[in-house]
């Protein structure tokens, strides 16, 4: 899964400071959350998807593969609102389903906004390795080292849990253990056979690793004296990234103002 998301090209976004980039993307995210205009939402979806192709660092074909589920995302996030949203101009009614003009556009808006979120998120994720992010958070934002190292260590431990899951399954197969019962009973049986041993084992392992890390002062109080193997600084590349992303979202906004698709500035219901 994680290998799948390792980009093949080095783009400018990958060279930017992860902590700075995180702040930048949170701001972009908040802008998208605040969007009430349908045109701005459509443009944002388009711009960020385009950026994903250019700056994501994947080959085009792989990006297409990543973008493909956006359609499902669009349908799943817009359908309920289209079918059951409030509205006055009735288009179609069948039983409980009531499609109105307002609910239709609100649904479309939600769909495009979800795509914008997804593209923003993927743009960040595909260009930011977790380890670098936590190093940057420790150094730039004074995140307590014990939090950062706990995350980093846990991420490394996760594949072991997966391995244990496979071993457990094989062991159960060898012993001829079968899940009895269907539905809820089967689910309870699954939990008993898998969740309890896997969780208890991972608790034990996490505790062991933590004791070792404490002995090595990983939780140390940090402060200015602490040195880091990977120094993380803010440099001119971050300025370029900042300008690039601000420009992208500004372009989406300006285009929505001057060349509106549908011209609905607030999709919320007003009685």
């Amino acid at each position: 899964m994680i290998e799948l998301l390792t980009p093949s090209r080095a783009t400018i976004l990958q060279r930017a400071n992860p902590a700075f980039k995180l702040v930048l993307f949170i701001v972009l995210f908040l802008v998208t959350v605040q969007t009430r205009s349908i045109d701005f939402a459509i443009n944002q979806a388009a711009v960020y998807t385009l950026l994903l192709f250019i700056l994501g660092g994947f080959p085009v074909r792989k990006t297409l593969l990543i973008v493909l589920p956006f359609m499902l995302l669009f349908i799943s996030s817009s359908s309920t609102m289209i079918l059951f949203g409030k509205g006055d101009t009735l288009w179609w009614q069948w039983g409980l389903v009531r499609i109105t003009e307002e609910s239709f556009y609100r649904g479309i808006h939600l769909g495009f906004r979800s795509i914008a979120f997804a593209a923003e998120g993927l743009l960040f994720v595909s260009t930011t390795p977790s380890v670098k992010l936590f190093y940057a958070l420790m150094q730039s934002f004074r995140l307590a080292p014990r939090y950062a190292y706990s995350f980093m260590a846990s991420i490394r431990l996760l594949p072991m849990v997966w391995e244990e899951f496979l071993i457990r399954r094989q062991a159960l197969q060898v012993r001829g253990a079968r899940i009895r019962g269907k539905g809820l009973k089967g689910l309870a049986e699954h939990i008993r056979m898998y969740a309890v041993p896997l969780l208890s084992q991972s608790i034990r392992r996490a505790h062991r690793v933590a004791v070792a890390m404490e002995a090595k002062q990983f939780e140390g109080q940090g402060g200015r004296e602490r040195t880091y193997f990977y120094p993380s600084r803010i440099c001119w590349i971050d300025g370029i990234v900042l300008m690039l992303l601000v420009l992208a979202s500004f372009a989406a906004y300006a285009a929505a103002l001057h060349f509106p698709w549908l011209g609905i500035t607030d999709v919320r219901y007003h009685a």
Partner: protein, 202 residues
């Protein structure tokens, strides 16, 4: 024993608490990731039937809190579980972090109201329901759910709250009990001075 006692004095989360919480939550986060398909399976059952299994997405904060029993664990657990979604590059990535913050905080508040002393099934069920309410709060802001027709909104969220109380409350409690039976919780909550004193009184 001396070591355990000096550790007891230091309040707050130690590295081992953090590591256990985060690893546990990451494992549950992987379940969260694949739970999406289970959620989709329930969809055709009946209208909004998918809400019936929504509660699993609030499992991390209650389970972690029932095991570790320290302030701040619930919110950390939910955020860490959401982090899996970012690692896997899910299209829900960033929004889920926002959701997880509010949901974790809501669950945390319930435990805080009981001053981190009550870890019974009822408390866990309340915390699960609170997390569901937290998700409603974000939904209102983010997905305009108040613009659904009224019956639809009530039905949807009533199902979700019930599901959360059962899955994030009862199921988490049962899991915590099962884990306690394996003895791992002795690592997390070593006997304290108070426990020894309690023995003297008998």
């Amino acid at each position: 024993m001396n070591h355990a006692l000096t550790m007891e004095k230091r309040k707050g989360l130690r590295l081992s608490d953090l590591l256990v919480t985060i690893l546990l939550s990451l494992v549950i986060g992987v379940v969260y990731h694949f739970w999406g398909s289970v959620y989709d399976l329930f969809k055709p059952l009946f209208f909004q039937a998918d809400e019936l299994v929504y509660g699993v997405w609030f499992l991390a904060p209650t389970l972690a809190m029932l095991l570790i029993r320290k302030p701040g664990v619930a919110i950390l657990a939910e955020v860490a579980a959401a982090h899996v979604e970012i690692m896997f590059g899910s299209e829900w990535g960033i929004q889920l972090v926002l959701y997880s913050l509010v949901q974790g905080l809501a669950a945390e508040l319930i435990f805080a109201v009981f001053r981190y002393r009550s870890f019974r099934m009822g408390t866990a069920a309340f915390a699960g329901a609170a997390a569901a309410l937290g998700s409603l709060l974000v939904d209102v802001y983010y997905g305009y759910v108040t613009d659904y027709t009224l019956w639809m909104m009530l039905f949807k969220y009533a199902l979700r709250i019930v599901s959360s109380a059962i899955l994030a409350g009862y199921l988490a409690f049962a899991l915590a009990k099962a884990l306690e039976a394996t003895g791992v919780t002795q690592l997390l909550r070593p006997v304290s001075k108070r426990d020894y004193e309690a023995l003297d009184h008998d």
